[in-house]
């Protein structure tokens, strides 16, 4: 499928707003995941849909100018983060993929929960975005 490029200004502005909202919401979903519906998988899928929307409305060249991402690298990075976080437990002498959490009180922000599950989930997020986008873009750009 060719990504179309010609759209009127109204649409472009509208779509830009939608994409921004989608990206923000997906990031919210990802962060909220620990306590509310959401998480890395859902957040990642929503981010991927937002990026697909960018491709569809602005075309591959424009999108890739803005997002200089190599999706296989994103996948690898996500796996690396998840594996690294999983290995943390080994350093402490615990089992592989032991997760830790604690509550800290920061000035202005108040009490905050810090959990190793969050960076782990970020790894999941990156892999989901990377894999979805790698598949989509590769199939879309394939010539013959």
């Amino acid at each position: 499928m060719r990504f179309s490029r010609e759209h009127d200004v109204m649409q472009r502005v509208f779509v830009t707003i939608v994409i921004c909202l989608l990206l923000a919401f997906s990031w919210y979903l990802f962060l909220a995941g620990h306590n509310r519906p959401g998480g890395g998988f859902i957040g990642g899928l929503m981010t991927a849909s937002a990026i697909v929307l960018m491709y569809m409305f602005f075309g591959a060249r424009e999108t890739e100018r803005v997002l200089r991402l190599s999706y296989p690298v994103v996948i690898a990075l996500g796996l690396l983060i998840a594996a690294a976080v999983s290995s943390l437990g080994l350093l402490a002498g615990d089992a592989f993929v032991t997760q830790y959490f604690d509550y800290v009180t920061l000035p202005l922000v108040g009490e905050l929960e810090l959990a190793t599950a969050i960076p782990f989930d970020f790894g999941v997020y990156l892999v989901v975005v990377g894999a979805t986008m790698a598949a989509t873009v590769t199939i879309a750009e394939d010539e013959d």
Binding site: A48, L79, V97, A131, A135
Partner: protein, 798 residues
């Protein structure tokens, strides 16, 4: 310190790339030489303590929960090998400095592999833990293959490397299985720990299985018949490597293993017979095959095989010490073990020097073919002298060290008659003696064809002259040792050989095997046998030009290679066939495979646990619209069967997906609903993208039988999934089991600090599953990129 010494070659190997960069490709061999030399000195300092009969054990815990710790253990046997490895290693590195051209060869690769090997070999002989031993064992297989394939642009090198890898790694795996069986019986991976309970192991049910598996490892590594075929092909390696790995050290790892395991397995007659027969066959096969070779390294390769067989045979005879009682008998068979170790050292010296001389001949004349060589005696007098020493020792002539071990070998053969059976054992002696005649024959062949006769300069592409002195140092050192150990045979015996015998036969009184060797011990049967070897060997050499004419004798290649090559071809062919059956290229078939397998497996588990529950009416009240949604899904599912074009197909499929996510939302599984919704979205996008490469929807005529089969499979899958679902739900309520969700409800906030149960399960309780799932997802993503962007266009070489 001890661990550091074992690992130092590996650590130095890691520094090598930096060193290479830093010295900009100068001869890094000199720096590498420091490693074996200092290690040799370090291990030599252990000699006094080991000579007093002490042992050293240093423990470094590695995986304590599995009983795996890096136990460095130095005793006589280990020290003997360690000195051999570092001593010969130092000479080989020195030789390689002059042998390999630093401008043409990739020296940093070479020395990296060589150091890798050296460290691994030290690890084998100095570790008390079987798992550590195994790890280092495979490391030697790996580095050996890398060294064989050092000139990786030559087909024969790659072939030899693959062959040695396949055969030795096969043996290594078998050995690992044997070790695990020993662990199951003995409860420890420590060799000394197993030796301590050797008596109880002897009667255990897994004893023989473990023995056979360990022997497989030893025999493949030490090139015993019929696994010896990798060694001649490994001669494609650079000659320093052949001298080091494939004659002096690595191939002796199997001998080491057999010696090390002797206290555990030695009391069994199966062990005795296995070693005796394998050793005898290998010895004969090797020495007879050696005569057929035209390549000097080929001769040496088969000669090494033959000598390794001899060592196995001697250890086999020695193991009789543990079977038979009586002091006199034990004394006789302990002498066989002593002989094996003496010959092991002797073999390393003379075979090492011979390989180096062959390397020099190759280096200076450009060929190793005895049909082209000849008359080098006057051209290369020093090389000739060293070769004369080495070959005389190999043939068993006085006053060289080979003579002494050959005489002792004959003594051991004769001593077999002390066993029950008496003179019936004579055949072993006769066969061993015959093999020695052939040994003499190929030694004479090497000397005669290479150095005597007429020197014909037109046979060679380059001007032939004596090798530079640097290249000659190492063979001269080894050659002097050949003579020195012949004149003073007791040099190593009290301080090194005896402690080594003590580690092989720990149960024996040391007084039984403390005796001295003599070059001359008066007229005896052994001397007569040696004389016979010389006479008949000379006759054999004289008659060779006639017998070598035709038939089996004219072919160089070992006939067993056909088995290996054929087996490899058959393996490729049959795996292609199996892949062909499975990989039809039709998605439909893959779906059938996956679904039937998944449902079949789940149904089997349910059936075996007897947990199928007949669907009963679920009494709980559901709002009316839930029925509406369900009805819509059913209608959509049936409509799918009727739809003929793809757009409508996707839409109808989307209805099913959306209804499912709606159901999730109604039953308050927001995460699942969200995920389902997003997956639907992405799926639609992907399907739309894939559209234009899908073929036209055509009315396919499917045979009636095939239709019925598909109907049966799909209904079985549907019904199966339904039954499993219902059973999973009602089994719990019927039997009153607590739901696992109660655990998560209770603990997700307490233990993982999260209120979203689904997410906590994903990233905490079952995080390992998630990790592996995203791994799969990542592989799929990268796989799509690879398959689309680098697809076959037809005609490529895979």
């Amino acid at each position: 310190m001890l661990h550091g010494a074992i690992l130092s070659p590996l650590l130095f190997a890691l520094l090598l790339p930096l060193l290479f960069r830093w010295t900009r490709g100068r001869q890094i061999g000199w720096a590498v030489l420091l490693v074996p030399v200092s290690l040799f000195v370090y291990f030599a300092t252990h000699l006094p303590a080991i000579g007093r009969g002490e042992t050293i054990l240093r423990t470094l815990s590695w995986v304590p929960s599995l009983g795996i710790s890096f136990d460095a253990y130095v005793d006589g046997l280990g020290l003997l090998f360690a000195l051999l490895i570092t001593g010969v290693g130092a000479l080989v590195v020195l030789y390689a400095v002059f042998y390999l051209d630093r401008r043409k060869e990739q020296l940093h690769h070479f020395y990296f592999y060589l150091l890798l090997f050296m460290g691994a070999m030290l690890g084998i002989v100095l570790s008390d833990n079987l798992i550590i031993l195994y790890v280092f064992w495979e490391l030697t297989s790996l580095s050996s293959s890398l060294l064989v394939a050092f000139w990786y642009d030559r087909d024969r090198s790659v072939y030899g490397a693959r062959k040695s890898m396949l055969i030795t790694v096969f043996g290594g795996f078998a050995m690992l299985a044997g070790f695990i069986l020993l662990y199951l019986e003995g409860g420890t991976f420590s060799i000394q720990g197993l030796i301590a309970q050797a008596d109880s192991l002897f009667g255990s049910p897994l004893f023989y299985a473990a023995m056979v598996l360990v022997l497989l490892g030893a025999f493949t590594k030490s090139a015993q018949f019929p696994f010896h075929i990798w060694l001649p092909d490994a001669m494609e390696a650079p000659t320093p490597v052949s001298a080091y790995l494939h004659s002096a050290t690595m191939v002796k790892a199997g001998v080491y293993l057999v010696a090390r395991m002797m206290p555990i397995f030695g009391g069994s007659e199966v062990w005795f017979w296995a070693l005796l027969l394998t050793g005898l066959i290998t010895m004969c096969w090797g020495s007879v095959s050696a005569i057929r070779q035209h390549d000097l390294k080929g001769i040496l390769a088969f000669s090494t095989i033959s000598q390794l067989g001899l060592l196995m045979l001697l250890l086999g005879i020695g193991s009789a010490a543990m079977i038979t009682g009586g002091t006199a008998m034990e004394r006789v068979y302990a002498a066989a073990v002593t002989t094996a170790l003496v010959h092991l050292v002797n073999h390393a010296t003379f075979k090492g020097s011979l390989f180096m001389i062959v390397g020099i001949i190759d280096h200076e004349t450009g060929t190793r073919d005895i049909r082209r060589l000849g008359g080098l005696m006057t051209v290369m007098p020093i090389a000739f002298t060293v070769a004369l020493f080495g070959l005389s020792a190999m043939a068993g002539l006085p006053p060289f060290n080979g003579f002494i071990s050959k005489e002792m070998f004959f003594t051991a053969l004769i001593s077999l008659q002390e066993l029950p059976g008496g003179t019936a054992w004579l055949w072993v002696a006769v066969v061993g003696w015959l093999a020695s005649i052939f040994t003499f024959g190929y030694c004479a062949l090497m000397l005669g064809r290479t150095f005597t006769g007429k020197f014909q300069p037109h046979n060679f592409d380059q001007k032939v002259h004596e090798a530079p002195i640097g290249l000659l140092i190492s063979p001269i050192v080894l050659g002097s040792l050949v003579l020195l150990l012949g004149l003073f045979p007791n040099l190593l015996v009290p301080g090194l050989i005896e402690p080594a015998v003590a580690s092989i036969l720990p149960a024996l009184d040391p007084a039984l095997y403390s005796f001295r060797l003599y070059l001359w011990h008066g007229p005896s049967v052994e001397l007569g046998m040696s004389l016979g070897v010389v006479i008949l060997g000379l006759l054999l050499y004289r008659s060779l030009p006639r017998t070598a004419g035709g038939g089996w004798f004219s072919r160089e290649r070992d006939p067993l290679n056909r088995l290996y090559d054929g087996g490899l071809d058959a393996l490729t062919y049959s795996s292609e066939r199996i892949t062909g059956i499975q990989m039809t290229g039709r998605l439909r078939d893959y779906l059938v495979f996956m679904l039937t397998f998944t449902i079949g497996l789940a149904a089997y588990v349910f059936f075996r646990a007897d947990s199928f529950v007949a669907p009963a009416l679920i009494a709980a009240e559901a709002p009316l619209y839930v029925y509406g949604i369900a009805l819509l899904m059913i209608i959509a599912a049936f409509a799918l069967l009727r739809v003929r074009d793809r757009i409508s197909f996707i839409i109808v499929l989307g209805i099913v997906g959306l209804m499912i996510s709606l159901l999730f939302a109604i039953f308050s599984a927001q995460d699942l609903a969200l995920t389902q919704l997003l997956v639907e979205t992405v799926t639609v996008i992907l399907l739309m993208l894939a559209f234009r490469r899908l073929p036209e929807v055509t009315a396919e005529r499917i045979p009636a039988f095939s239709r019925l089969l598909k109907l049966a499979i799909s209904s079985a899958v549907g019904v199966g999934a339904f039954l499993i679902g219902v059973s999973a739900y009602s089994y719990r309520s019927e039997t009153g089991l607590t739901s696992i969700s109660d655990f998560f409800k209770e603990n997700s906030y307490k233990l993982a600090g999260g209120q979203n149960m689904v997410n906590v399960i994903l990233v905490d309780f079952r995080a390992l599953d998630t990790l592996l799932e995203i791994l799969v997802l990542g592989i799929v993503g990268i796989g799509i990129v690879m398959m689309v962007k680098h697809r076959f266009k037809g005609g490529e070489d895979v």
